[in-house]
């Protein structure tokens, strides 16, 4: 039977690998997800064949967890996806932590390597758990999204990391007598997860979520070493690697190092650039904006977190359809860190039925920005801030941006003149070709759309 179970684990690993590979292409992504789900089902069934398990309680756990997971996945709004992913990351991390813990109770005399594995499973799993819960709190605005800093934060964090590691080493050397040490490591790790994420601001959440995703995989991998199981190691490592790659992509898109994101509390200290912002802000009415859009033959939408907040994606798609009927070419320029998680804007626009061929990346659109008649910035700020290109003293300097300031006309849809998350002034608002369309993004877009419809009805 053990052979059959292990063969099933190998097949499951293959299905995970294929599934992940297929997830990398739009055409095959949905099937890839199903392939990997089949792998998971196979691994679960194989494990149930082990015998000697507590099947009554297993059914309870599966039913309760399955019901919660199913309900959460069905009920979540697309705009709340970052919170949801954070919570799923957290529950995966917690599960791995519990597996490490329970394995120690089951066998309080582990060998050195198993002890190390237990230590890592517990440490990383706990950090992934509480870190994700804090990320969820910030994203869902249960907690303030701003970085929370206190005096001596970094020494305290260093002390906790150091303490956990020292306790871990003692635990590894003398496992049989050290159950309290394991509990202390668990406690410290849970605290560490909280402290690691509270100084990170809302706009850096894409990086945090990718990192927590990676941690949940690493915790699963460590749990795999604890129970000496191939499929956990392979699957956990794959997830760890993919999370790490995403984290890197996000950091690169912000021109910042991971260390800088984790430790700086960016945005808490406003080190605004010294460059004088000159010019004046020119508001525009929806009616005037309509005339400009009506004459445009090339329009680019640049969505940001504000579009998610205003739930404006459907209104944007409606306006885009009207613009296309009017003969304009419509594209959407998506910055990799726009929104609160990697690919956030793409998911929202997909929800609104925007074909993905119209979604372009900054590198594809920037070289031809001069040919764009109108760039419509919807609730994005830092990712279109020309200071990142022009002002060497700006904290954003060097971050790749979407050069909407080089379009013939730029509309910025904004509630008010508050600066973006980073607290940095945006010279874009003062450029001669920029027009500010103040108000709720969804209302503004819908007003523009109705102008088009009225004009069509009149004609």
């Amino acid at each position: 039977m053990t052979t059959v179970i292990n063969l099933a684990y190998i097949v499951a690993s293959i299905l995970f690998i294929y599934g992940l590979k297929m997830l990398g292409r739009v055409e095959t992504a949905r099937r890839g997800n199903m392939v990997s789900a089949v792998g998971m089902l196979l691994a679960i069934i194989a494990t149930l064949l082990l015998g000697g398990l507590d099947y009554v309680w297993i059914i309870v756990g599966l039913v309760v967890g399955g019901a919660i997971g199913w309900w959460a996945a069905a009920a979540v709004k697309m705009t709340q996806m970052p919170e949801m992913v954070a919570l799923f990351n957290g529950s995966g991390g917690l599960a791995s932590m519990l597996v490490g813990w329970v394995e120690y109770i089951r066998n309080p005399h582990p060998d050195v390597i198993t002890s190390i594995a237990i230590f890592f499973a517990v440490l990383v799993g706990a950090v992934a758990f509480t870190g994700s819960v804090i990320a969820w709190g910030k994203l869902s605005e249960v907690m303030p999204g701003k970085p929370m800093l206190f005096k001596g934060q970094q020494p305290v964090n260093a002390l906790i990391v150091g303490g956990a590691v020292v306790l871990g080493i003692i635990f590894v050397i003398t496992p049989p007598t050290t159950y309290p040490l394991l509990l202390a490591v668990i406690g410290l790790s849970l605290i560490l997860g909280v402290l690691a994420v509270i100084p990170i601001g809302g706009a850096d959440m894409p990086i945090v979520i990718s990192l927590m995703n990676s941690y949940s995989g690493v915790a699963g991998m460590a749990a795999g070493f604890v129970i000496q199981n191939n499929v956990l190691i392979v699957a956990g490592t794959l997830v760890g690697a993919s999370g790490l790659i995403l984290t890197q992509v996000m950091c690169k898109a912000m021109n910042r190092s991971l260390a800088n994101v984790l430790f700086s509390g960016f945005g808490a200290v406003t080190t605004a650039g010294t460059m004088k912002v000159e010019g004046e802000v020119k508001p525009i009415t929806a009616e005037d904006a309509y005339y400009i859009l009506e004459a445009a033959s090339s329009v680019i939408f640049v969505p940001g977190y504000g579009m998610a907040v205003a739930q404006a994606q459907h209104a944007v798609k409606e306006l885009a359809d009207l613009l296309e009927e009017n003969g304009a070419e419509v594209r959407y320029a998506i910055h990799p860190v726009a929104g609160r998680m990697p690919g956030h804007m793409n998911v929202l626009l997909a929800e609104a039925n925007v074909p993905y061929e119209q979604l372009v990346e900054p590198d594809d659109v920037n070289p031809t920005m001069e040919m764009v008649d109108v760039a419509v910035v919807i609730g994005a700020n830092d990712v279109v801030n020309p200071a990142a290109r022009e002002d060497e003293t700006s904290p954003l300097y060097g971050m790749p941006i979407i050069n909407v300031d080089q379009a013939r006309t730029t509309f910025v849809l904004k509630r008010s003149m508050n600066p973006g998350f980073s607290g940095v002034d945006n010279p874009l608002f003062f450029k001669p070709n920029t027009r500010m369309l103040f108000g709720d993004a969804k209302t503004s877009i819908s007003t523009l759309a109705s102008e088009f419809k009225e004009a069509a009805a009149a004609a």
Binding site: A73, G92, E103, Y356
Partner: protein
């Protein structure tokens, strides 16, 4: 020896993971993240095996592990599928 073998598998999996996911278009970042997140629910295998344990507290931990891993697995796969079902091309078919 078993541990060395597991270590070997681990190292291979790192390289495989980096190769597999190297070039994913940015529009797939969210589904990739939630889909791989569902895979990290694989610790359910460890959780199920742990229910073999005797004693109340151990069973509580093991069952909690099963429940949380199941949330991760079921929720992760379903929400990824929901997202991917929305990705459409402009081509009329």
């Amino acid at each position: 020896m078993t541990m060395l073998l597991l270590l070997f598998i681990f190292v291979m999996a790192i390289f495989l993971g980096l190769e597999l996911i190297g070039k994913v278009p940015s529009q797939l970042h969210t589904p990739l993240m939630s889909g791989s997140n569902a895979i990290s629910g694989i610790s359910i295998v460890g959780a199920l095996a742990a229910t073999e344990i005797h004693g109340t507290f151990g069973t509580v931990l093991a069952v909690a592990a099963v429940a949380f891993a199941t949330i991760n697995v079921v929720g992760g796969y379903l929400v990824t599928d929901r997202m991917l079902a929305m990705f459409k091309t402009g081509k009329k078919d």
